[in-house]
């Protein structure tokens, strides 16, 4: 048997409630009604409606207040406001405040039925979306647990025993045989690293990163990232040129993962630059945000690859002169930046190079630091 959709009508005009109830009578609905906001809100918590019709003009607490309270109680409940023609502008206002639709008075039975159906469809979609999201999250967690336990553990045990064998057999077997064991160790290590990479993708949990957020100096993030990649740059004879406009101030974030983002982008720049090239790092504070731009003059990214480079496991179709890539670095970078309420974008031209730009919202300076105007003057 199909469960009935629950509809709550909150209106001080008895005639409206009566006619609405009559229009829906016989349908797959359960209907409850209240003649003022306070009684309506009580019914929201007792009756658990799928859809609520709220009259905007009622004695007692206002329709707007009712909308706000319902949204606080359960944001998945679909709300429709009932309003006279003269107050269409307030209906628009109500929709800005979370109402899904509005029903102008006077209305025909067909209009009311249609809006009811639309509202209930919306409710179904909202609930389905939530269920799907939860399922996806569970799959992700379970997959991670499976990868880590079922794949990595046996491989670790094999590797552990190879370590022991190599130890025990040293001196007893010839060089050729020892080399064979070494190759096995290398291969298994590669597999373990691959599994760890996968786990890393699955484990960048936005909410968990956020738990460790604290005021973090952007300059310090950049310095640490540059220090990390400097040896790779030197090895490939690539110059890192930075122009950092102090003060950059702070962002609310996690230093470790932010450094990881910048290292990743600089690392890509180095990887895909020709020997002798140059990578520029520009950073500045603008109104309300910090901008970090990393430009290289490397091989660039083709138009068809460009929309996908921030996706998991995307390694690109273009041949990149034997450069190995797991295709997850940028996906993780994007997720980390987004966890910081920031954004990451890229512009690139094949053969000319790429520019990655990160925007992060600035942390409001403490009152004891320089006033805002001074900061802006420093830039002009």
């Amino acid at each position: 048997m199909e469960t009935k959709s629950r509809i709550l009508l909150i209106d001080d005009e008895e005639v409206v409630i009566d006619s609405c109830s009559q229009i829906l009578a016989g349908g797959p609905y359960e209907i409850a009604s209240a003649s003022d906001g306070t009684a309506g809100l009580r019914l929201v918590s007792e009756f658990h409606p799928d859809l609520v019709f709220v009259d905007l003009k009622m004695p007692g607490i206002s329709g707007f207040e009712v909308l706000e309270k319902i949204r606080e109680m359960d944001s998945t409940i679909v709300m429709v406001v009932i309003t006279g023609f003269a107050t269409v502008s307030s209906a628009v206002e109500a929709m800005k405040n979370g109402a899904y639709d509005f029903l102008p008075k006077p209305f025909t039975p067909d209009e009311f039925r249609m809006i009811t159906r639309r509202g209930l469809d919306k409710r179904r979609l909202v609930l389905e979306t939530i269920a799907l999201r939860r399922e996806k999250e569970m799959l992700r967690e379970q997959f991670a647990a499976i990868v880590s336990h079922e794949l990595k553990s046996p491989l670790s045990a094999v590797q552990q025993n190879l370590f022991v064998l190599a130890d025990e057999l040293s001196g007893l077997i010839n060089e050729e045989q020892m080399k064979r064991i070494e190759r096995m160790k290398t291969n298994i290590n590669d597999l373990i690293q691959l599994i760890l990479t996968w786990l890393r993708v699955l484990s960048v949990d936005v909410n968990k990163i956020r738990e460790n957020f604290k005021p973090t100096s952007v300059a310090s993030v950049l310095t640490k990232a540059i220090e990390t990649v400097q040896p790779h740059a030197v090895r490939k004879d690539i110059e890192l040129v930075s122009s950092i406009h102090e003060p950059l101030g702070s962002v609310n974030g996690d230093e470790g993962t932010l450094v990881e983002v910048v290292v990743n982008i600089l690392g890509n720049g180095i990887k895909y630059s020709r020997a002798g090239g140059e990578i520029s790092i520009r950073a500045e504070k603008t109104a309300g945000e910090v901008l970090i731009a990393v430009s290289d003059r490397g091989v660039g990214i083709s138009k068809e690859d460009l929309p996908h480079i921030f996706h998991d496991f995307y390694t690109g179709k273009a041949d990149r002169a034997g450069e190995q890539s797991s295709g997850i670095g940028l996906a993780i970078a994007r997720r980390i930046v987004e966890a910081h309420d920031g954004s990451i974008t890229v512009e690139s031209e094949l053969g000319k190079g790429s520019t990655f730009v990160i925007h992060l919202p600035s942390l409001k300076e403490q009152s004891n630091s320089e006033p805002h105007t001074d900061l802006e003057m420093a830039h002009s």
Binding site: H149, S153, A157, N161, F163, D167, L196, L202, S203
Partner: protein, 140 residues
């Protein structure tokens, strides 16, 4: 006066335990093993050990953590150094919902990741035992 040190490994993966045990025995340690936290705790109460090598993910979840906490509360066992050997890295710890598997949640002495190079394992083991002995000799 080099008395042989006695260690215990608590880990539910017999293959892994075999590998670790053999490394330690070659280094002249006496090694006992237990394949679940319950047997492990019983063994710990039956005799004195110089060091415990403990796995985190056992049985239905992070049972190693629970055992480590129990050990820290036990006045007789509290002083025993613990080396956690785990394949659960810090950053994936939260992937096991509802289970505290973060290594910092428990006051352990050291943590190494599986698989562990024999040399590294032996260094950690001897350093932990030495540190525990020195602590013991200091007047309270």
């Amino acid at each position: 006066m080099n008395v042989q040190k006695r260690l215990i490994i608590i880990d539910d993966d017999p293959d892994f335990v075999g590998g670790i045990k053999s490394i330690l025995e070659r280094a002249e340690y006496q090694v006992d093993t237990a394949y679940n936290p319950k047997d492990g705790f019983q063994a710990l109460q039956a005799r004195r050990y110089d060091l415990l090598l403990l796995d985190i993910m056992m049985g239905r979840g992070a049972e190693g953590i629970a055992l480590a906490r129990k050990i820290r509360k036990d006045p007789k066992l509290r002083e025993m150094p613990v080396l956690i050997i785990t394949s659960v890295r810090e950053q994936i710890a939260f992937l096991f919902p509802g289970q505290a598997v973060h290594p910092n949640f428990v006051d352990v002495d050291e943590l190494v990741e599986k698989p562990v190079e024999p040399k590294l394992l032996l260094e950690k083991v001897s350093a932990l035992i030495k540190a525990a002995e020195e602590k013991h000799l200091q007047p309270q």
